[in-house]
């Protein structure tokens, strides 16, 4: 009896580990990817975490700013995140009522908020020229436009990035994982039941 149980235990363990790995992989992948643009003397890469921003869920925007000519990181720049606007076909065009930055930053006269230069995040070192805004939330799904003004010794320039804010759907990885575990245990239970009878 023990001999038949051992392989079953191994299978269950392997499948559970596989599911957990998939769940973590899905989260990790969500943080990757980015958009790149040139603006004046700058080459800017923008990333969001999660990659697909979800309505009413706080996200982080990261900008990596480099000198377009030399490829060197631009450090010590003043990077302002301007109020986000929705695309013209959206109902509240031009309004920024649907976007909030809860990182506690002081806003300037135009309503912009400074992005903080980051050298590290937790124990992870960041590339030089990395600027970050945490706690961004959008309360409406749709296509948004995010303007960023960069001022440094190279000059001032503004770059615009499109941001798609999606509706928050179900977490299928979680649901699938729970369902998967239940199905596997169910198969195991059926096997035990059959054996018992």
């Amino acid at each position: 009896m023990n001999n038949t149980r051992k392989p079953m235990k191994k299978i269950l363990l392997s499948l559970s580990l596989l599911l957990l790995t998939l769940a973590f992989a899905a989260n990790t992948m969500a943080a990757s990817g980015g958009l790149e643009q040139d603006a004046g003397p700058y080459h800017v890469t923008m990333q969001t975490n999660p990659e697909n921003l979800i309505v009413n869920q706080a996200g982080t925007m990261t900008m990596i700013i480099k000198n377009k000519a030399t490829g060197q990181p631009v450090t010590g720049a003043k990077v302002m995140m301007m109020p986000s606007t929705m695309d013209s076909n959206a109902s509240n065009s031009g309004s920024m009522a649907g976007m909030d930055m809860s990182s506690g930053m002081d806003k300037d006269k135009q309503g912009g908020s400074p992005m903080q230069e980051q050298s590290s995040m937790g124990s992870m070192a960041m590339d030089p020229g990395t600027y970050m805004m945490q706690g961004m939330t959008f309360n409406q799904p749709g296509q948004w436009n995010q303007a960023i003004t960069i001022t440094s010794s190279l000059g001032a320039s503004t770059v615009n990035f499109p941001i798609t804010v999606g509706k928050s759907g179900p977490n299928f990885v979680l649901i699938g994982s729970v369902a998967g575990v239940v199905v596997i245990i169910g198969m195991f239970a059926a096997f035990l039941k059959k054996k018992k009878n």
């Binding site: 309505v55 869920q57 977490n171 979680l174 729970v178 245990i185 169910g186 195991f188 035990l192 039941k193």
Partner: protein, 450 residues
């Protein structure tokens, strides 16, 4: 044994008895809860992410969670008898269950698993936001559902409800203070040869909670499912009202882990209260600055550990003082007197959630109408804040008095009237301190959930 005589047995009312013996009970209630639970699951997992628009969140945290302690007080663990998870467990087991015996590990350490789970869930709520996030609520419910199904697939009866459900343990503790009890007539049971209440018969399955009504001396594991009422061939079961909190001083077996949960709940309720007060963010900031932490989650964790351990240590200190008179081991006395804080736990839980129920209750209706595309805006409160506050004061005072009285009666019943006050005194001081602290938290306005 004149004190064991109960003047009223609700099962003497023919209509009620007929209903409880019929197949309608508890299924008629279960069908309603299963239906509502289904909507809540779909809403929290796939509905609006804004808590103020999500019916699942509103129904769970503004309606069900505040009402549940009142249920426990009035009807014991009746909720557990009609809980949708229990229904899922029964159906899963019926169709696919392997019906294995409960492992000794779960029997022995189930309550500790619950204690730890309960603490972790409370901590997670503050770190990741379960209550304020519909998806967080959905995740919690989904994980519970998964746990229920897995335990039902493998083991016999309701292992989850008896040994693993964190709410079951909370409800077990709270219903000990309750006003209703189901017990068996021991004289009749002594002559019984079949033990159908435990084993089950053609009329009904055996007790899903592994209880044998004849030996049952507390409410903790009776979910009033009615199986024993249906299956007992001798009409031995009684359903009687009783003096609230009387169970604490009449029990003969005290369990350390149950007392531990009771005292931990003091800390949990205190954390719940304090984190919803208007000054909490600045207080947390102050903790961060003072301890030089620079991370609010770590600062909260420090506060949380402090809030969990302080009541436990205080009760241990009281037990150490009382030991001079009791001569008992710390563990035994702690176990015996830990139950005394349950009335205060229950009252504080009720008082805290009364605010959510009465100040935000209409959100349940608004979000329910939202399911049909009807958008309603307006005040969510039923009554004015000062009135709610007075009710909260009343509850906390009543709970404190209930706990003080329970501690005194535990001392009196176990060590005699002459030593009762000396032994109870340290416990009375600690309970009074808990009561005052709880009272003070209700003098400050709480934040809304929705």
């Amino acid at each position: 044994m004149p004190s064991n005589k109960q003047p009223i047995n609700f099962l003497n009312y023919p209509l009620l008895k007929r209903f409880l013996k019929s197949s309608l009970y508890p299924s008629i209630f279960q069908w309603i809860t299963v239906l509502v639970f289904g909507v809540i699951m779909v809403e929290t997992l796939a509905g609006p992410t804004n808590v103020g628009e999500n019916f699942g969140s509103a129904a769970t945290w503004v309606l069900w969670w505040p009402l549940i302690p009142f249920f426990f007080f009035l009807l014991g663990r009746f909720w557990c008898g009609i809980c949708p998870f229990g229904w899922v467990s029964d159906q899963t087991q019926k169709l696919f269950g392997a019906n294995l015996k409960v492992p000794n590990f779960i029997r022995k350490y189930g309550l500790w698993i619950i204690d730890i789970t309960f603490i972790l869930i409370t901590w997670s709520d503050h770190i990741w936001g379960i209550v304020e996030s519909p998806r967080g609520t959905g995740t919690l419910l989904l994980l519970i559902l998964g746990g229920v199904m897995v335990s039902a697939l493998l083991f016999e009866r309701r292992v989850w409800c008896r040994y693993l459900c964190f709410l079951g343990s909370l409800s077990g503790n709270y219903s000990r203070a309750g006003m209703l009890e189901l017990r068996a007539d021991k004289a009749k049971c002594k002559t019984c040869k079949t033990k159908d209440c435990y084993k089950g018969n053609v009329k009904s399955p055996g007790c899903p909670m592994f209880e044998f009504p004849m030996t049952m001396e507390n409410n903790a594991n009776c979910n009033l499912c009615g199986n024993c009422i249906k299956s007992c061939p001798n009409d031995s079961i009684r359903l009687t009202p009783r003096k609230p909190t009387s169970e604490f001083w009449s029990m003969t077996r005290a369990h350390f882990e149950e007392s531990f949960l009771a005292i931990v709940i003091v800390g949990i309720v205190f954390v719940q209260n304090i984190t919803m007060l208007d000054f909490y963010p600045s207080f947390l900031k102050w903790v961060e600055m003072t301890l030089g932490i620079g991370n609010e989650n770590i600062a909260f964790t420090v506060l949380f550990i402090f809030a969990m351990t302080t009541p436990v240590l205080l009760l241990f200190a009281a037990t150490a003082f009382a030991k001079r008179f009791t001569g008992e081991s710390l563990r035994n006395s702690f176990a015996r007197f830990g139950y005394a804080v349950i009335p205060l736990d229950l009252a504080s839980h009720m008082a805290h959630n009364l605010f959510h129920l009465l100040a935000e209750g209409k959100a349940t209706y608004y979000t329910f109408m939202g399911l049909f595309g009807v958008h309603i805006e307006g005040s969510t409160s039923f009554i004015a804040d000062p009135t709610i506050q007075i009710m909260q004061y009343f509850l906390v005072i009543a709970g404190t008095l209930g706990s003080l009285y329970a501690a005194y009666r535990i001392a009196k019943n176990n060590y005699g009237a002459s030593k009762a006050l000396s032994i109870a005194m340290p416990y009375l001081a600690v309970i009074l301190l808990f009561g005052i602290l709880n009272f003070l938290t209700f003098t400050v306005r709480m934040s809304m959930r929705m």
